[in-house]
């Protein structure tokens, strides 16, 4: 039984070796130096994409907020929303709205700073 198995293994070994020893591909393999440079370029591209992601996110948040405000204005029959803001008895609505805008601005600035820091860090490497 053992001999049979051994014969089979020898035959399979012979087959795979024969296939391996068949003539190599005619096409040239890529130059490793070129591959290395390409890998570095791809890495830099990925780093740039990663660094700009917070800016893009903030951009989308700002756009969504703006769209929301526009929709609210459109749905409130023109200036009635502004009138409501001005005439608000509590006096808190306007400061809250302003702080929301400031928060949005701060978010964009923070995202920009983070992106700049990421790029600088990648550049150091």
């Amino acid at each position: 039984m053992k001999t049979l198995e051994s014969n089979e293994e020898t035959r399979i070994h012979g087959v795979v070796r024969a296939l391996r020893d068949a003539p190599p591909p005619s096409s040239e393999l890529p130059d490793p130096a070129v591959l290395w440079r390409k890998a570095r370029l791809l890495e830099a591209l990925e780093a740039r994409r990663g660094a700009s992601r917070p800016v893009q996110t903030a951009h989308w948040i700002s756009l969504s907020l703006a769209a929301g405000v526009l929709a609210a204005l459109a749905g409130s029959n023109g200036v009635s929303l502004l009138r409501w803001l001005e005439g608000s008895a509590s006096g808190l609505v306007l400061p809250l709205t302003l702080s929301l805008f400031l928060l949005g601005g701060g978010l964009v600035l923070a995202a920009g700073a983070a992106a700049g820091r990421n790029l600088a860090r990648r550049g150091e490497r």
Binding site: L19, R20, A22, L29, R40, E43
Partner: protein, 188 residues
């Protein structure tokens, strides 16, 4: 088209902290392994052009990855990347494409006599009749001379299962060869 492949934590082959490869290390390693890896990819995928693409993508990923600290593990690591990329291609291209060895990988003419050529083409067909994983197992074991541990790492399988899978792959290829009338005496 080659899509992204999650290499997963299983690629961390040893406990040592992974390292980044330097350009000179990469170039030396590439010269040692590129041609055998191309042969392996061409055999398991059955397509020369695809093997070219997979080879390039494999080494691009290798360059950018944090590789095992031990250089002896790099070969299994790079074969694993190649195998994952090939598996990803199979998933996206369908089973039939995966199990059909294209004629362009088959032994070209112009070497040896006519009987030798016919024999080689028969071997090509027999090998092509196997499943991709069986081809990979046999190729790594007998063409690359990897031991069970290294094959397990390259294919993402446990070392214990390699012996059984290899045995089954051998029996399957043996059966195909028998049906084609290619006995041990023909190969000697």
């Amino acid at each position: 088209m080659i899509v992204d492949v999650a290499l997963g934590s299983s690629l961390a082959l040893s406990g040592a902290e992974p390292v980044s490869v330097t350009q000179s290390e990469f170039e030396t390693f590439y010269r040692e392994t590129a041609r055998p890896l191309w042969g392996y990819l061409a055999r398991i995928c059955g397509n020369r052009a695809l093997a070219d693409d997979l080879l390039q993508e494999t080494y691009l990923r290798f360059c950018r990855a944090r590789v095992p600290a031990s250089r002896s593990e790099w070969r299994a690591y790079v074969y694993r990347i190649g195998m994952n990329l090939a598996a990803d291609w199979w998933r996206h291209s369908g089973r039939r494409a995966a199990e059909t060895l294209e004629a362009d990988v088959a032994t070209p003419e112009g070497r040896g006599g006519e009987s030798d050529l016919i024999l080689r083409q028969g071997l090509d067909r027999a090998f092509a009749a196997l499943k991709p994983r069986e081809r990979a197992l046999l190729w790594l074991a007998y063409a690359e001379g990897m031991d069970h541990r290294e094959i397990g790492r390259a294919l993402g399988l446990s070392r214990g299962s390699i012996k059984v899978l290899l045995f089954r792959a051998r029996r399957r290829l043996g059966g195909v060869l028998d049906r084609m009338g290619i006995g041990p005496e023909v190969l000697s």
